[in-house]
Symmetry: C3
């Protein structure tokens, strides 16, 4: 195995003083339990506790980080086994796909996917050689065999990974069947849901009307009316809270919020429900709903997460052929300052409200987000998101945010992943990078050692628990 | 006292070679006199030379860096003693406020406020323990007692701090009474004013009309007319120059400039004065006034400072309750290139004109500001401003500006502060960070040692003096 | 000579471990042949192989990096010998200009021009003293004398510089006379052209109509018609390919593309040709032409380069007096995501298409460009461009791009220069900075040594050859 894959000092600065301090801090946090307050694992895994399938189905087919990079180099999605919407033929030989991945593993050099994969191979499966064309088959066989053992069932891995809590994410019309299945068991405290109502909030979705009507069925409210629609949302929030949810999540193309009169809301909602909303109507409706959701959070205490600025599915052909979330998502410039103004004018000074902001536009870190979070009682900053969930991305976040917002207006790490086996790898990267950042401050006389030790534990564990009200 | 608070190598890179070079450079500049060409100290201090009050009144109540952070964590402004506009009750027990600050001092970890505070405690007051709940009372008592001694009177501190010159900032209708009081004394050379006409230039201010009319009283010009208004501005500039001013300052929400005909100006001015200006009118008027002021600078030689991009008082409730400048200011994206074009087309090639640009939108450093300053003879770049007046902010500034604009299109450091006692701390941070940046260049073979030594003195002293014509 | 000018470790991190790794990697790439796939050298040099003139004419007068900085400090362009459009008097004493440069050489401290100059002085001319007022005359005499020797003729320098291939850039109506002159000789394989049709694509150019009509003469097509215009472009592309071109280049003010109907194109083209195009028409026409050119690239296999976001000639007085490209070019914010959408919807999934994107707006690196290049098969990222062709600029590029796009969606280095003698210096900076970046990854356990060695050769040589189809 290549030395770097084992390097116990990986991700620390190579400056000897900083490395020594980093090591010490990391030693104190590496074994803390994992809190995963925002992610996309499948609750069925934890409810049913079935064995995972083969290596390819687990690691590659569902991981858009992986197939976007392969696709960018001209490798057809079909040859990676990504299912076509029309059911047309795609590669089904999982070993063959695995080999294709191995043959192109060099593409991931310098990317977090490479770090995560190597961590999983080595730490989770004990594979001590470097992954390559030469070792691809052996890796495939070993992983696929291990996955059939009890030690690799989802619940066993929750234990082994020391995951104290993992939050999944479900849409507003989800029946929460898997969370219902574990309700009342010991697992219910460790696997909770998150309320993500985009499916019935975004009028541009093709299933918007269908979902709004489904909400009526689920709640008994008349969702043809604005008031009934809001009541249905309140009811669903209550149901989600029954299954452990402490947070909501909102993925919006922009950070726009609005504060319309009731009459304006009623008209706008009707237009959206009738399918006659313009793009501007849709944007305004989403904007209004962020403010409504903030109001409901103030009522029921749920933490509100806003993920703004991902332009989704920008490759039309890929969208038509393979559907949503196939790696064709690109950040766009976001204006948080103007966007949030209506919501903040209404609720910004409520200390009982918790809104966590995420951005893909890093220019916002120092220009808008840190100054906003460093003033408004209701605002906190989420960790670096998606493309920026990486060593350099994490450094930029801390370097650009800390001096204005401090550490205590941030909320620890989110792995934000559907790749369950990579959760420890991702938290490990975050812990190492935070220790590294703190070590720099200590080494440069900007922070005391004791303060750094306390902060390292807060960043690795405490702030996530507190920020998401998981106490 | 925690070791880091005393670290003589603080803020230098921990790389031994870079640290050694940094130390050497710093040794050569640390005792240079302080030039503070842009700031917000109160000229009454230097005119009256009264003792400062207690620790809380001096450090906390007026420092929006401090109470914004405390407020962001849900601590009410009232409990911090920030006065309400309506005269309603706020905390008046200064010791209690001080204890509250101590109890939350952890919030400032990693921020420049922390650095400045520790510097003041240790260097100015000789307090060698760490500031905490445990030491809060002792600190309060010690500081408050020292402040009553002659050694801590404003003029004594000017000497002790080795401040060669400090510029205050006054509005266009200020009577300059404090500067008048010291006129003719030895202090007049060390304490000068700066002409900041926003009060009579920004039609969105509630006191715009009142200030324009006040200008008439002060100058005898008919400020109901555009020509009289300009004449009044010229007269006020002349008066400010009598009290030492070498510079003007302009805080505008955007970088827009304009070059309208006289007839257009007359109509626009009338509309603004009558209170019927639209937001677009107000923006255009401010834009035109930047160009007018540049023209006047060309006549009278005053250096023109443009601070663009701060959206002020964005928290409506806080603004209504506590007024301006209460920590609710957030940067917004700025377009310097299009904004400055009209002014630059008119005056950009005048080598006799000096315009210093400041931004809160760091994306402008490499994209617009360094290229502009690296071409136009009239443009120089001010130091990193406000939120970016911090170690990381200073590094980003040098890293993103130097390769395109060099060092000689920058103008040294501004402390920009009303916190008099922190002036040495702030200059010390700037000197250390500049020495650190230069040390990196030397250590990486990008700059000679002799050149670095010369530059370190220029950045700490020479460029400020020259850039603000303080020779 | 000052030590730093000779530092064999220049540009490497001063961290001993990183420096050691950097050195090792650099050792393996420093002598690789130079591929210069995009630049602005004069093909006449290689066709005629005449001696260059004096030091000033070669280094200063044509180098807008140099005179922009001198001009920014108030030194008139006339005194630098920059020719005036009206033929008015400018300095013609080349030695005097050279001395003026020497007297102001401090302005370039910390800039890449300084690095390049020192490299040329030392490595190309063997001048071992520091350049200064004291040595200016000796340098001038030595350089000017050397330039008259055969060893400094263009072809000899191509050999000495180990330049395997250099691409020049010619407009669509260029007669390619110099490339014709070397056709069939051994030099034709080493000196190739690039097709840059901006002269007949940008309706805002004063010579647009003239150039479109000239295209008709050159190709026999009726360029009054949209179809004939396209046919003429195709013909010119074919001719350029005869003279080695493997790439086209497009310098546009924005990244806008369009996908209009044929009828819309015909009308728009007529309007542009008639000189009645609005600014919006001109923008739309350029946008459409990027898509047309992508279509032609798919037909003929030429690699397409898009350089977007330079606002040219923003100083009106300088433009009127001295013409284009006189250092008054400033980057502006660019929206790649929306801009490229029409083109990408049409051709984005064509693995046979190669589009290389360049930006001057670094905020795009992590926000738009890396995510786009990390997904679309047709997209690759060009190296840091113009103002960012510098040590810090290169670091920011790798730090912000690699984690999302990897290394293999980039295409090696471009020197992009008309300063022939600085080509080795520029490639040396790029090789050193890439080795440095890789060394950081190795030292921090993020990349294996063997992988880094392979990557260092790819970044220095292989990717340029492959990315520009120079195979």
């Amino acid at each position: 195995m290549a030395t770097h894959l084992l390097d116990p000092d990986r991700l620390f600065s190579s400056d000897p003083l900083q490395r020594k301090i980093s090591r010490g801090l990391y030693e104190g946090v590496k074994d803390l339990p994992i809190i995963s307050p925002h992610g996309h694992t499948d609750p069925a895994w934890f409810a049913e506790n079935e064995c995972f399938g083969d290596a390819t189905s687990l690691f590659l087919v569902p991981d858009h980080y992986v197939f976007r990079m392969l696709y960018s180099q001209g490798i057809p999605m079909e040859s990676l086994g990504v299912p076509r919407i029309d059911g047309g033929p795609v590669e089904t030989d999982m070993r063959k796909i695995w080999r294709l991945f191995a043959a192109n593993f060099r593409l991931f050099r310098g990317t977090p996917s490479n770090l995560w994969m190597n961590h999983v191979f080595y730490e989770v499966f004990g594979l001590t050689e470097a992954f390559s064309v030469a070792t691809a088959d052996a890796f495939y066989d070993h992983i696929s065999a291990e996955l059939q053992t009890d030690a690799y069932r989802p619940r066993a891995l929750l234990d082994r990974f020391n995951i104290e809590l993992v939050a999944t994410t479900e849409g507003s019309v989800d029946d929460l069947r898997h969370h219902r299945a574990i309700a009342g068991t010991e697992w219910a405290r460790r696997v909770i849901t998150t309320f993500r109502p985009d499916d019935a909030v975004d009028p541009e979705r093709e299933d918007f009307r269908e979902n709004v009507l489904r909400l009526a069925e689920m709640t008994g409210e008349d969702t043809h009316q604005w008031s009934g629609y809001l009541a249905a949302m309140r009811a669903r929030r209550a149901t989600f809270r029954e299954f452990g949810a402490t947070a909501t999540d909102h993925g919006h193309p922009t950070a726009a919020t609005a504060d319309l009169s009731k009459a304006e809301c009623e008209t706008l909602f009707s237009r959206c429900l009738s399918g006659q909303a313009s793009l501007a109507d849709a944007e305004l409706f989403r904007a209004q709903m962020l403010t409504e959701m903030a109001g409901m959070s103030l009522e029921d205490g749920m933490v509100m997460q806003i993920h703004a600025g991902a332009r989704r599915n920008v490759n039309e052909m890929v969208f038509r052929k393979f559907g949503r979330d196939k790696g064709a998502d690109v950040p766009s410039a976001v204006n948080y300052l103007d966007g949030l103004q209506p919501l903040l004018n209404k609720y910004g000074n409520e200390a009982g409200l918790d809104i966590i902001l995420f951005t893909l536009d890093e220019t916002n870190y120092s220009r808008e987000l840190a100054p906003l979070a460093g003033h408004f009682p209701c605002l906190k900053l989420g960790p670096p998101w998606w493309f920026h969930d990486s060593p350099e991305g994490m450094l930029r976040f801390r370097q650009q945010v800390t001096e204005t917002a401090g550490f205590y207006n941030t909320v620890g790490f989110n792995d934000d992943t559907r790749a369950f086996l990579s959760i420890p790898a991702r938290h490990d990267v975050a812990r190492r990078m935070d220790c590294r950042f703190l070590a720099t401050l200590v080494a440069e006389g900007r922070l005391g050692q004791t303060e750094a030790e306390e902060l390292s534990r807060d960043l690795a564990y405490g702030l996530a628990k507190q920020g998401y009200k998981l106490g």
